[in-house]
């Protein structure tokens, strides 16, 4: 049985539901994700599970398609507040969720909101993680390709501690979260990507400084995460087709270099009209 085959008014066992991918288990609820839809199940006093709602991935729309039989029943929405509903990875996976929000700057209205799984950690990420975990000395550096297509010898140079720094300032398009217009036609997505395909300049989409959310963890969901955020304000209608995360690290000469560690293509692109702001959140997550 696939998730789409679950029906309102039917009884199910926990095993029937949990055989699916991407499950969050709460004391009374199970949240199960198919590729396009999120399903909500609640257990009754007899231990039977019922489908109570399903919706798309927009966490602001929690109870669309609510089971009409249960609609009169008070729902403990406190359990399913948006902040509690994280877009999960497969249990055990460490990864990133990418959240895109387009907001009208005059009205504050959200025009578009998408949450998707970031798919593309690049070779520079695993190389720099190795440098950190091995405390690679300058006598045994790792050769990593920077955003200028030059191989750099990277090591943990004493007292620098620069590896993975993403603190780009306002208007800085060289690192932090950056955006582009290439949908993969110019620069196909691959493990060895080292730069964004076609950078959208600050003149077209005003880059804010990088922002950060404190590390958080939740024993109930088993999820821990940190959030990296950047805002882009359109000065002209723009379609964003790619998003990347670029960090800094120090090479063995003591020079700060830039390395792209994640690149995601946005299927269909995301339109950002003039006078609106695109907010990009990279949520680095793990689930136990």
């Amino acid at each position: 049985m696939e998730l789409k085959d679950f029906k309102f008014g039917e009884h199910y066992t926990e095993e029937q539901i949990k055989g699916k991918a991407n499950i969050i288990s709460l004391p009374r609820f199970i949240i199960a994700d198919s590729p396009s839809t999120r399903y909500w199940f609640e257990v009754d006093s007899d231990g039977q599970w019922h489908l109570i709602a399903f919706n798309d991935y927009d966490p602001k729309v929690l109870v669309r398609n609510l089971n009409p039989v249960l609609s009169e029943k008070p729902i403990e929405v406190g359990i399913v507040q948006p902040d509690d509903i994280k877009d999960v990875l497969v249990p055990g996976e460490l990864g990133a969720m990418l959240e895109l929000t387009v907001t009208d700057d005059k009205t504050g209205k959200i025009i578009e909101h998408r949450v998707m799984k970031s798919k593309s950690f690049l070779q520079q990420f695993i190389q720099l993680l190795y440098v950190k975990m091995a405390l690679s000395p300058t006598s045994a550096p790792v050769s990593v390709r920077d955003t200028g297509n030059t191989l750099r010898n990277v090591a943990e140079v004493g007292k620098k501690g620069y590896t993975f720094d993403t603190t780009a300032a306002i208007t800085d398009v060289t690192y932090g979260i950056i955006i582009g217009s290439d949908n993969g036609g110019v620069y196909p997505l691959a493990m060895d990507n080292y730069k964004i395909g076609t950078l959208i300049p600050n003149a077209t989409m005003n880059y804010s400084a990088m922002l950060y959310g404190n590390p958080g963890g939740d024993a109930g969901t088993g999820i821990s995460q940190i959030t990296l955020t950047r805002n882009f304000t359109a000065t002209a209608p723009t379609t964003v087709n790619e998003i990347a995360l670029v960090c800094q690290a120090v090479d063995t000469t003591g020079t700060v270099r830039k390395f792209m560690i994640i690149r995601d293509l946005i299927a269909g692109g995301i339109a950002v009209p003039n006078g609106t702001t695109l907010t990009v959140n990279y949520r680095l997550q793990a689930q136990v």
């Binding site: 990864g95 975990m133 720094d165 060895d192 950060y212 590390p215």
Partner: protein
């Protein structure tokens, strides 16, 4: 996509393989992100418990060329009961928590006997096996990193973290949890150790007298 493979191999004293288990690892903890956070944000502070349950503030580098979270996420380590230092100065100085170096068995892969449930908020193994040669102890070898490989056509990349544990004179020991301990930078040229990964091993792997346990943790990425 980022996943981690945990491999447990048990050998007799002649290094003949007796048992091997391999599966996806499940448990990167919040402290992994706590150690990553000061590095990526560069100016942010976070206060968390170290493996001793003591609250410590992790700091970021505020003054370039002066200090920084250089040791965060380090898991490479010397063998047990050897002093472990990290370099903090480009002119050859070494230190760790003042004049007191940590022991090798307190950084890198560690093992324990308690199979209590995993939580992302755990600060340490529930019952870490001590380094030593008497009953209930294991000899901790050095924790090494190797095998950094990138397969561009295949769209994969990985490296491995590995440590040997030897049961020298003790009775049988049931290893029921595996963890990764890593130092984090504490602003004043000191580091403290935090648990960034913990894995429940069920059923436990029993390491008998004279046997060797090899634990390998392999982070992998795929596009």
């Amino acid at each position: 996509m980022f996943k981690t493979i945990l491999t447990l191999e048990r050998f007799d004293e002649d290094m003949r393989l007796l048992e091997k288990r391999e599966r996806e690892s499940r448990s990167w903890l919040k402290h992994f992100f706590d150690e990553f956070y000061p590095m990526t944000s560069f100016t942010q502070l976070v206060t968390i418990n170290d493996i001793g349950g003591v609250a410590r503030t992790l700091a970021a580098c505020g003054i370039m060329n002066n200090a920084g979270p250089y040791c965060n996420l380090q898991v490479v380590s010397s063998p047990g009961n050897t002093g472990l230092f990290v370099p903090i100065s480009q002119v050859g100085g070494y230190d760790w928590n003042g004049a007191t170096p940590y022991r090798g068995e307190d950084v890198g892969i560690v093992v324990g006997t308690n199979n209590g449930g995993a939580s992302p908020l755990q600060d340490a193994l529930l019952s870490k096996i001590a380094h030593g040669e008497i009953a209930g102890q294991l000899l901790y070898g050095g924790c090494e990193l190797y095998g950094l490989t990138i397969n561009v056509p295949g769209g994969t990349g990985q490296f491995s973290i590995r440590r040997y544990f030897t049961n020298v004179l003790g009775g049988a020991i049931a290893v029921a949890e595996v963890g990764l301990y890593s130092p984090g930078y504490n602003a004043t040229d000191t580091c403290y150790v935090f648990c960034i990964h913990r894995e429940v091993v069920a059923p436990a792997v029993t390491v008998n007298n004279g046997e060797i346990l090899r634990v390998t943790i392999t982070p992998q990425i795929a596009v």
